[in-house]
Symmetry: C2
DNA sequence: CTCGTTGGTAAGTTATAGCTTACCGTTAGC
DNA sequence: GCTAACGGTAAGCTATAACTTACCAACGAG
């Protein structure tokens, strides 16, 4: 259920902004924090959370810490989301439902 | 930025469980709340939040309130996620980056 | 009409997530 | 060696999200 983790981590707007900034490429913390409405330590904390969730990775370059995106960390979330449109799976669910219920309609 | 809203709403595990239960089809509140580790009013509150986020819809059937999934409510979130894998868009971003920076690598 | 069922809302409590400031370790330059 | 930039961590504050119980309105059945 790692998708739940990714969901929780990306729910915060500030943290999501941090994450999105890395779409443009790897960046040191200073560059990520520049212009954000929160302090630099706050950004550090967000980066830590993102890293623990596997959504970013970090490498040292001298005194800099360069953070970059880990798309892999989004995979489970994406698959979970995709599942809501999966026709075959949906058909299966409807079938199972028919056995249990008196049968109503289905949404949409 | 409705995807941010969907993210925030689905971040809570209990609320996500409520949401996922509706995958199997429309349900009255009682059925949704059955077996959950929280009280029935808590489920009502979650349903309200889900409804306001456009993730579920509600219709009355006698004394019952039947809730059902609104996949449309997930669309923006899905598109946002898909964007992370969009090759063309990524190429554009890299191009833009080249103009601003001294040029480092790109992740992965 | 009365009573049971369904479920929404109000009020209050509590845990915690996100922020701040202060501080410290590390590396680079002079 | 000394000093300045980078950035991680600690401690503490505060707003709020999720929950509870209590209550009430709406409809159905007898």
């Amino acid at each position: 259920m790692a998708y739940g983790n990714a969901l929780a981590v990306l729910a915060d707007p500030t943290r999501r902004t941090v994450f999105e900034r890395l779409r443009a490429g790897p960046r040191p913390v200073n560059a990520i924090a520049a212009g954000l409405p929160v302090s630099r330590p706050a950004v550090s904390q967000h980066l830590k959370v993102l890293k623990e969730a596997g959504l970013v990775e970090e490498r040292s370059e001298g005194v800099r810490r360069i953070y970059s995106l880990r798309r892999e960390g989004l995979r489970e979330l994406r698959e979970w989301l995709d599942g809501f449109w999966d026709v075959a799976l949906e058909a299966f669910r409807l079938e199972a439902e028919k056995s249990h219920m008196s049968g109503s309609g289905v949404d949409e």
